[in-house]
Symmetry: C2
Subunit: 131 residues, 2 copies
């Protein structure tokens, strides 16, 4: 039996979390899952794969991020940029502009993000230089 | 009917993700859920609540963080510190030393975290000064 005894911890330059929390259909707060967040997550994963950046970036499901009313909620770390009302149509822009390009997609940003201290650019993804 | 029309986006000083991914019991990689990660998540949330820091810190479920073999996996943002083999017995130490105190729990760290550049202290949580 083969045993794998050595694992490298990933060092993601960006780690994207998509809320997939589900509430009952009649819940007053709504829920990201009911708005189609699993499809957004799938599209995000697919877009990262298509651009060949799955070593540098990971997209994950997240439990309730408590922004249900403005979901679908997506948060990008390490900068902790909160996006709201995200749809499938926004995925390419989030990936290309923010995740790869390092500039936030201002039109999708939720308000009141004082931790960003006004910053809107965080640097491009570092990609290996191919020979 | 009361309508809430104004929402503040949370500005978490630390955001903790606990992998709750489940694989079939006979899967060679194992899974965090099978190792009891939902209980670790619950204990983490309870500990944060007990310390009165749920405004400053959030704990969430995460999908597969791809460290199945060394799970239960917990990652703390924004510093992106990866912990492995986390058990219920470790929760208080992670909360008090790292999440509140800002110093990593070295004995639980997964190896190979070059993004930390050797740093092991990231500053205490900023808490409101009570009158």
């Amino acid at each position: 039996m083969r045993r794998v005894s050595f694992f490298l911890v990933p060092t993601f330059q960006r780690h994207v979390f998509v809320c997939v929390n589900e509430r009952p259909p009649d819940h007053p707060r709504g829920s990201c899952k009911a708005k189609g967040s699993p499809e957004v997550r799938d599209a995000l994963k697919k877009a990262l794969k298509a651009r060949g950046v799955t070593t540098e970036v990971r997209a994950n499901n997240a439990g309730c991020l408590d922004q249900c009313e403005t979901g679908i909620t997506v948060v990008v770390y390490p900068e902790q940029v909160w996006y709201g009302h995200v749809t499938l149509a926004d995925v390419d822009e989030i990936v290309d502009r923010h995740i790869i390009g390092g500039e936030v997609v201002e039109r999708l940003m939720l308000p009141d993000q004082p931790h960003l201290e006004g910053r809107r650019a965080f640097g491009r993804l570092h990609l290996p230089v191919l020979p």
